[in-house]
């Protein structure tokens, strides 16, 4: 039952120790990715095994083996595999691809996998801290770059505050019910759902704040832009995709597997957070000139849309939220993949304007970026549109038409900054970085990377494909909950 986690742990240790002597980043990355492949395989095998033998979905009150755990784990593993594969050249080039880097990423994956299966507050807490701490360290992995360290400190301190609040909430819930394991706790909460005490409400709110921080939802979003901008690009991708999935897994576990009976407490709050997030994310992104920072605000807005589905607290709403999460992750992965491919030695892509005329130099990459931007903006027929559409439809079905309209209006506001990138890559002219070196334009390939290019194309293609044929994925998401 713990084989996937065991593989990741073992691989992390091996990489940590071999990394002391071995300096070949490519080899280490290959090892890490290979272990992730094994983990995926193990996850699937265990799932099929337990499904065939009708094993219990709960193991000793600590460990879930249900559909949610399976889907979350698999998504985390696949995303992690993509993130590692896309970042190989970048980490090598930025000189951060040491053994520690890959060991930390695997520790982070380990923490995320634990979180996805956690059926007990202790397990959840340990998993959460494991991946958070690993990511704090990863953000600071470029130890000579000042803003990286600054980002790490900010992330660390705000994250610690959020964990403190989360723990405080857990302690209050524990005090009110005497339970730390999810299944009995949910039963108890179901009994007292109507006559809950202030203690429980406080606990729920504190937990909500902790999770909202991890998701990067306004007003607990202040860390997001700074960390996205300051962190190395590959680590930023890590935070923007896998860590978000893990945060979503926590959200699912806590709000759906524990606090669902107390929906009356948290649903209005989540509504508020969702709308605020969409507003803050979409408007603040407009004023950004830094690509990573813009993506950060975009992620804040996307998490808002996600919460808009979550606040409905029905099975189908959670499925749609999962679908939205997947669409967001693939979209972000695609966008950052293109930028990762373009990090040239003399020409870092930091600002949006560095992408000027990308179409003229790399039409394919420009097209993939276009797909990503359209998908994130929610333009049909891409996956992002489908996801937004599902959420809006869900809201309308539940008679929350006001929210649906607000969300759509703010989507139009949000479309502005995505389209601006498309304008820059398609309609602006190339500008040489330096008049003395006319051959070097900002959008230049880091190196010819067939694997990473194929991965980027795969991500972009899946945005289009899943946008046109979303039914299977949607069906899959519906079966999870």
């Amino acid at each position: 039952m713990w084989i996937p986690e065991g593989i990741v742990l073992l691989a992390a240790i091996i990489i940590l120790l071999t990394g002391l002597r071995l300096k070949n980043a490519k080899l280490l990355a290959g090892l890490a990715r290979f272990s992730l492949l094994l983990t995926m395989l193990a996850t699937i095998l265990i799932k099929t095994y337990s499904w065939k033998h009708h094993l219990d979905t709960l193991i000793s009150e600590l460990w879930f083996m249900d559909h949610i755990a399976f889907v979350m784990k698999l998504t985390i593993e696949i995303t992690a595999w993509f993130v590692l594969g896309l970042g190989v050249h970048y980490t090598q080039h930025e000189d951060i691809g040491s053994g520690e880097y890959y060991a930390l990423t695997l520790f982070a994956v380990l923490g995320m996998l634990i979180v996805a299966s956690a059926a007990h507050f202790m397990v959840l807490f340990v998993g959460l801290e494991l991946f958070s701490l690993a990511i704090y360290a990863l953000v600071a992995s470029q130890c000579h770059i000042s803003i990286g360290i600054e980002a790490a400190i900010k992330y660390f301190v705000t994250g610690a505050l959020a964990s403190g609040l989360l723990l405080y909430g857990i302690s209050l819930i524990y005090g009110a019910t005497g339970q730390l394991a999810f299944v009995p706790l949910m039963q108890d909460l179901g009994v007292i759902a109507n006559g809950h005490s202030l203690l429980i409400s406080f606990g729920v709110i504190c937990i909500l704040v902790g999770v909202a921080f991890k998701l990067g939802v306004a007003p607990f979003h202040m860390w997001v832009p700074d960390i996205y901008e300051g962190a190395p690009l590959s680590v930023m991708l890590w935070i923007a995709t896998t860590a978000k999935i893990a945060a979503f897994a926590i959200l699912v576990r806590l709000l759906w597997n524990v606090l669902a009976p107390l929906g009356s407490i948290w649903q209005p709050l989540v509504q508020f957070l969702a709308l605020l997030s969409i507003l803050v994310g979409n408007t603040a992104a407009i004023a950004q000139s830094n690509f990573q920072r813009m993506l950060a605000y975009s992620s804040i807005a996307h998490m808002g849309y996600l919460l808009l589905a979550v606040q409905l607290n029905t099975e189908s709403a959670w499925s749609v939220a999962l679908f939205y999460m997947l669409s967001y992750v693939i979209g972000t992965l695609t966008a950052v993949a293109v930028i990762l491919l373009l990090q040239h030695k003399h020409a870092h892509i930091k600002q949006i304007n560095d992408l000027c005329g990308l179409h003229q130099r790399h039409p394919w990459l420009a097209f993939i970026l276009l797909l990503a931007m359209f998908s994130l903006a929610g333009v049909p027929p891409l996956l992002g549109f489908m996801a937004k559409w599902q959420i809006v439809q869900m809201l309308i079905e539940q008679q929350q038409i006001g929210y649906a309209i607000t969300a759509m209006l703010l989507t139009i506001v949000g479309a502005y900054y995505y389209l601006r990138i498309i304008k820059v890559i398609y309609f602006d002219d190339l500008q040489p970085l330096d008049p003395a070196k006319p051959n070097i334009y900002p959008p230049a390939l880091l190196a010819v990377q067939p694997t990473a290019s194929i991965m980027a194309a795969l991500c972009g293609g899946s945005l289009l494909f899943l946008g046109i044929f979303p039914a299977q994925l949607l069906q899959f998401c519906l079966q999870v909950f």
Partner: protein, 657 residues
Amino acid sequence: MNLLPFALLALSAPLLGSLLAGFGGRLLGRCASHCLAIGLLAVAWMCSVTLLYQMWYQHAPALDWMGYNWLTSASLHIDFGLLIDRLSVAMMMIVTSISLLVHIYSIGYMHDDPAYQRFFSYMSLFTFAMLILVTANNVIQLFFGWEGVGLVSYLLIGFWFKKPSAALGAYKAFIVNRVGDFGLLLGLALLLYYVGSLNYQPIFAKAAWIAQQHIIFLHGHSVRLVSLICILLFIGAMGKSAQMPLHVWLPESMEGPTPISALIHAATMVTAGVYLVVRMSPLFSGSPVALSVVLVVGATGALLLGLIGLVQNDIKRIIAYSTMSQLGYMMAAAGASAFSAAIFHLISHAFFKALLFLGAGSVILAMHHQQDIRKMGGLRSYLPITYITFLIGSCALVALPPFSGYYSKDAIIEAVHLAPIWGGHYAYICLLLGAFVTALYTFRLFFLTFHGSPRFDIDKEHLPHESPWVVWLPLVLLAVPSVLFGIVHVQEFIYTSPEGWLGQVVYVMPALRNYLSDWISEFHGVFIATAQAVFELPFWFTIAGIMTAWILYLVKPSLRAKYIKPDNLISRILRAKYGFDSFNDSIIVRGVQSLSRLFYHIGDMRLLDEGIVNGSAHRIKQLAQWMRCLQTGYLSYYLFVMALAWVILLATWVGWF
């Protein structure tokens, strides 16, 4: 045999070709790009051939494939589905064949163009969109294809977008088509509202019910729903098929490269309107009013637009006006419920009109992009292959037996002659006169271009010479069906039943079946029909047209100067193109402009710009800046905000409690 894989392959191959040529163009290089595009198109063509074979010889049943539900919102289902029946197969065949030949032709014609790969990409994309249009099993998908071909047409008319006239032509095409699309969309909306579905099958199943519905307007006037829907749909068809008065964009579209004029603006896209009317025949057959409108508009266009062709001097524009005139014939046939004749004329027209355009392109190449026929002449000896194929195309166009145009056009004129619907006589006269006009302008063009003495500066070093084989091969390949298509297929296609070969696909109003039966009973085999030509009026009108052209332009050009004053009323009217353009310019454009200026100053500047659009954009930008300022960068401040939000959440909850 399962037809589905072939249909899917036929659809996807051009899309793939387009993507490869478009995105991989630079990587692949010119040769690989066009080879890929042409190869994939050939695959699509083979698939179409297979489908046609199955339909024609094996009598395969129609395939209505509900592929995939993309989106559902209440009663609106947006599906991807295919309807492979005789009509769509015939259209697929035409689209892929002409497209394939035009692709090959473009290798030569676009040889020196820097945006070579882009051109091939657009053409394959066009083919894909057109195939989507004709194979759709629901109107949404049809609309998608409809807009798709419109878009590519816009892109291709403006292909040389640095040329102002090309850019303007592209604009004009785009805007005029929007007028048509407006009607189409309204029609579709009415269908969705009343039928509750946009798939052909439920729509047609409810056609009888729709025919009995009435819509009551403000003052109690009731209008038959079906007439309203059909006329709205026909407005869409008018836009796309360049029927009067929405024809003004087609001459301008000639600014695009010539292969495009052949593919899009002669053979395929412009016939989409005819296709729409035929496809929607169960609806149109429920409304005699709509049929009459189609008939009258078509016939009027057939005559009047042909007349304009007489005074044009640009080789491509003459053929463009002839296209509009021929589209009028097709529409008239559809209006007379002779749907098979309409489609048959569509097919034969596609062959010979593509041939004429490509021939014109060959001439233009030889003349170094000189398009004015007054500056040509005597090209017969320089361009022998072009000359012969152009002659074949011209004969087919003017409907001389035994060329293919004869059978289709003769069937149309006869059907319209017999049709017992309102406007039938008028239409018949128009079409008859149209035959004379067609012959006149076609041979005027032909004689001025190929006969007589050269009116260009003969440069001994650079004599006009025949184009490379990639250019003339498609001409030869197109000349074959231009000659043979009619004689071989006319009997089975048109004269088997009142519906013709299309059979179950189309639906004819019961009241009109009798006349159609009479019409087909007059046919006694191809050879008799061919021989009978001499006893029929249209033939002599055609001969008269040719003779007139021969005398006026070849034998005694002086007669022209003597009898036709350049500034007499008729030629002034014709030259002004009946004033459509100036009407549009002075009344519509200027009216709209002054109206919009009014709105601009009052509504836009004050209300919308300052208030809503710019205002909101400005507000949002302000908000964005403000949000930015909130992100101060100070850690203590972040922590403060977090803690404050936490406290507020707690406090709100206590307040609620």
